[in-house]
């Protein structure tokens, strides 16, 4: 294995799981999430030689992931699904209320257009600034704000108890 492959392997081991978590929020389905991360990391792998010289592989992979998800939705080649059963929690605290909340949140997220969903995930899961989130989505800050605002409004409507005070 050459140095590039070793570097990519180390990157993969460190970042695959966090990328899968984000992909799951974007897709709402673990298989689609794995497909999305697979494609994003494959493209990152193809670009690795240029990324190693001062690039940011993780930012690149996340940007590919967001772009792929939005473009897939546009082409409607990957139908979004709302499977009724949630995966079993493995930490022993799977209360019925928690499970219902997660199901409700997942369903609410999947009703949002992908750009709104991506904006919320970038801002409130990955804690990116508005400028960073806008850059990752390839849009202006004003557009990002609009996506975020509309997404939050839709979430509040679907989930009235959602704690979003102070968010805009």
């Amino acid at each position: 294995m050459d140095h590039d492959e070793q570097d990519f392997e180390a990157f993969y081991r460190a970042r695959a799981q966090p990328l899968l978590r984000t992909a799951y929020l974007l897709t709402g389905d673990r298989h689609l999430a794995e497909d999305l991360v697979q494609d994003a990391l494959a493209r990152t792998h193809r670009a690795w030689r240029k990324l190693r010289d001062g690039g940011n592989p993780e930012a690149y992979a996340r940007q590919v992931m967001y772009n792929l998800q939005v473009s897939r939705w546009r082409r409607k080649r990957v139908p979004e699904s709302l499977p009724g059963d949630l995966p079993e929690r493995r930490d022993g605290r799977d209360q019925a209320g928690d499970a219902a909340n997660r199901l409700a949140l997942r369903q609410a997220l999947l009703t949002l257009p992908p750009r709104q969903r991506a904006a919320l995930v970038l801002r409130y899961f990955e804690d990116h600034s508005e400028a960073e989130a806008a850059e990752l989505l390839g849009c202006r800050i004003g557009t990002l704000k609009s996506h975020t605002s509309r997404g939050l409004a839709a979430l509040r409507k679907a989930l009235p108890d959602l704690a979003t005070e102070g968010m805009k």
């Binding site: 392997e9 993969y12 081991r13 695959a16 799981q17 899968l20 978590r21 992909a23 799951y24 929020l25 389905d29 673990r30 298989h31 999430a33 794995e34 497909d35 991360v37 697979q38 494609d39 990391l41 494959a42 493209r43 792998h45 193809r46 670009a47 240029k50 990324l51 690039g55 690149y60 590919v64 772009n67 473009s71 080649r77 139908p79 979004e80 699904s81 499977p83 009724g84 059963d85 949630l86 995966p87 929690r89 493995r90 930490d91 928690d98 909340n101 997660r102 949140l105 997942r106 997220l109 919320l120 409130y124 899961f125 804690d127 390839g138 979430l155 108890d161 959602l162 704690a163 979003t164």
Partner: protein, 369 residues
Amino acid sequence: MNHDLHDQFADLADEMDGTDLVRLRDRVDRRSRQLRTRRTVATSVAAVAVVAALTGGATLLQFRDQETPPPVPGTSATTSPAPATSSDPPTTAPTSSSSSPSVNPDALPGTLFYLTLQPGKPIQLYRYVDGVQHTTSFGTASSQDVYASPSPDGTRLVVNTSPNVASITPGDLVIVEAGGARRAIAHNVRFDGGNTAIWTPDGTAVIAGGVRYNPADGSHGATGANGLPYLAYSADGSLRAYVAAQPATVQITKADGSSPRAVPVTGLAECERAGCPTSVQSLSDDGRYLALGNVNSDPQHVYSTALVYDTVSRKRVELGQLRHVWFRTDGAVVDTGSQLKLYDRSWRLVHTYPPPQREEGATRLLYRP
């Protein structure tokens, strides 16, 4: 809810554990190699377009990878060998020209479909597109689900159901969307005798029990035949074949049912031993070759291929051990159980591939070029 949104997102993301990261890594590698191949092809075609433009050609081709961020382009393309072309005169070729399938050394080109369909368990469709796995969930299988067939694009299933499978009782014909949403489009539909539902090659209709259904609303029309047992379409969708009469006649027609040609297979040695193999599994685009399975025994639907029959020489094509055979425009794919063999139109072996690692409980259904 008493968490803030970040915590709730994090709670939801916790569901994404348990992924087999070693396997995912393997998928990433395969996908990366596939992207390299595609870029090579695109670069070659783009070069042709540039030459055409420089020499006054009217066509302008634009290639753009919308999903890849522009600041960091992919690595440069490498030269790939041109598809091999047969130089030896074919001995049994169906046409005067013969070309070999393009060889991808990493994975079988085309799509292999696998499906799990077990009562009370998730219905999962596994598609291996040029070796890259894609998984689609279709909810949970009902105890009445008997047979399922995926649409060509893998986004829907058509399912034959029965309230009493043991008695082969006709049941609903159900369209299942990705995610599990179900919609019955017809009732009291038979599935015995090789009449299980299949999709037309363009995915616009479902044929079941000799009736053509619109999967969107269930509207239907006759197909001009009293049942189309073991109906199969050629890869290019131009021809169809089905069991015309037991024990040993296959009918080959154009896709619209015109130009019928009856092909008796009674000359096969198998007819003397265990019965003529007449369940049609697939046929070549020119209608010369039929992949035939063993004779049907209700209610079990036969999916495997026993032999390939040459309708011109009226002999079987000797291919050794096989389980499935599917035709491509440029040849055929033979599944031996342990290997996938790619043949050209003259039945010369082009390449051998290992089958994908099969998911637990998944059955290999079909292959599409």
